[in-house]
C-alpha cells in the first residue's frame, strides 16, 4: 500500500489538529506551488516546556500524518528536546513513508523549528508568524 497503517491512522485521525489562539510561537513552511503548507502553533511555559501544540496543514496524506506525528513527538517536551527532533524520527515513528513523500517529514521538522524560532523572536519583542516558504523537496 501507499502508506503504512500508522500513517493512515494519523491521516484519518490527526492528533492536535487546529489552532492555538494565544500561541507563544507560530511557524509556517511550504508553499502552494509545491502543494503543501504546514502551520504549527506552540504554547510554551516558563520552564521552556511545550505544553500545547496544534497544526493546520493543507496537503497530501503524508503531510497531514507527519504534522500529526510531529506534534505528538514534541508535546510536553522541552524546547531543547524539541529542537533535536529530526525528520527521520518522524518517518520512523510513522513506520516509514514512500520515497516521494519523505519531504513531508522534512516540512514537519522545519515547521516545528519555525514555530520555536518565532517563540524566541516574540520573546525578543517580535510578533507575527515566522514563514519559511522554501520547499524542502522541489526546485520551485
Amino acid at each position: 500500500m501507499l502508506y503504512s497503517e500508522r500513517v493512515m491512522d494519523h491521516f484519518e485521525h490527526p492528533r492536535n489538529a487546529g489552532e492555538i489562539e494565544d500561541a507563544d510561537g507560530v511557524g509556517q513552511v511550504g508553499n502552494a506551488k509545491c502543494g503543501d503548507i504546514m502551520r504549527m502553533y506552540i504554547k510554551v511555559d516558563e520552564n521552556e516546556n511545550i505544553t500545547d501544540v496544534k497544526f493546520k496543514t493543507f496537503g497530501c496524506g503524508a503531510a497531514i500524518a507527519t504534522s500529526s506525528m510531529a506534534t505528538e513527538l514534541i508535546k510536553g517536551k522541552s524546547i531543547k528536546e524539541a529542537l533535536k527532533l529530526t525528520n527521520s524520527a518522524v518517518v520512523e515513528a510513522l513506520e516509514g513513508l514512500p520515497p516521494v513523500k519523505i519531504h513531508c517529514s522534512v516540512l514537519a521538522e522545519e515547521a516545528i523549528k519555525a514555530a520555536i524560532d518565532n517563540y524566541y523572536q516574540r520573546k525578543n519583542g517580535g510578533e507575527g508568524v515566522t514563514v519559511n516558504d522554501a520547499c524542502a523537496a522541489c526546485e520551485h
Partner: protein
Amino acid sequence: MSKRRIYMDHAATTYVKPAVLEAMLPYFTENFGNPSSIHTTGQLARSAVDRAREQVAAAINALPQEIFFTGGGSESDNTALKGIAEAYAKKGNHIITTNIEHHAILHTCEWLEKNRGISVTYLDVDDKGRVTAEQVEAAIRPETILVSIMFANNEIGTIEPIAEIGAVCRKHGVLFHTDAVQAVGAVPVDVVAMNIDLLSMSAHKFYGPKGIGALYVKKGVRVPTFIHGGAQERGKRAGTENLPGIIGMGKAIELAVANMEESSKRVAALRDRLLKGILETIPDSRVNGDTEHRLPNNLNMCFRYIEGEALLLRLDLAGIEGSSGSACTSGSLDPSHVLLAIGLRPWFAAPNLGRRDDGRGRGLRACDPARNSENIARNVANI
C-alpha cells in the same frame, strides 16, 4: 476488500470485460502458437492476429496493414514522434503540440528537443482546455514535419477539434498525429474523414488488456523500425506477438465501437446527475474543462481549499476510487500540468471521478449518483 467499492477511475485503466477475457483464454493454453511458425499451431495463431488487426482497423476506418501493434499507448506515442522526427529529418525539424498532452508526448518532445535538434511549439489551450485549428495553422512553418494533438484529454476530458486540425494539416502538407488513447472506443474516430496520418491507442482504456496498444500509420507515411529483430509487424516491431493481448484488443475494440452511442448516452446522463449532486451539496465546487466538447465518461472537478491526494485517500476509505491528475504522475509532487494550463491554481484539487462503463461491470450499477455525491460531500467536509 470487505466493503463494496465504487471504481471511478476508468481513465486510468479499465478491467477486462468477461467477453474479452473469454476470447483471449484459448490463446494462452490451446492456440498458443508463435504466429511466425509454419506448423498448424503457428498458423492458427497467425490467422487470429490477422483477424484482430482487421477489427482494430475497422474501428477507426483504417486498413489492416496500417495497424501496428505495440506494447501500449506510451510506446505508440514514442514511436510516432521519434519515428517521424527521424524519417523526416531531411524535410524539417519542427513539431507542433499542445501543453496539455499526456507525458508520453510531452516528455518525448522534451527528449527530441534536447537530443535530436527538434524545435517544438507548445500551443496554449483556453480555459476549457481547447486549441483551435487557427492556432495550429498560425504555428505551421516551412520546416514543420508533424502536428501532434491529443484527441481527448485524459484529465479534464476535453475533446479537441481533430477534424478541423486534420484539414489544416492536410492543406499545408504536414503530417498529423493524434494521441487518441482516451478517445478510441468512447467517441467516433475516423482517420480518413479526419485526415489523421498517425494515431495512438491503448487497449486497457476500452476494457481490453493492459500491455497492448496500436499505432495507426497511414499508408505511405514512413516510420523507421522501432524494435529491430524478427520480421513481425511488417518489420517495424520485432518480437513474438503478444497473441492473447492482440486478440483481446481486437475483441474489446469491436465491442466498444458497437455499443458506443448507446453506452455514451447512458454514461453521460449518470455523469451529469452526479455532477449536479456534487455542485448542489459542496460549496466552492466547480467542474473543469469543456462541458460541450467532452468525453461522455469524464468528470473532473475542483474543490476549493481541498488538496487532491488527501481527498482521494478519504474517498478511498469511503469506498470511492477516483484520481487527481493522471495515474502516471500520482507518485510525483508536481501539480497537474493540465490544470495549470487551464489556469487553475494548484490548491484547487481536482479529483477525476469520471468513469466509463457499459453497464455490465460493477462500477455503474453499484453507483448511485445521489448517494455518491453526498458521500463525496461528507468527505470534502472532513478535510
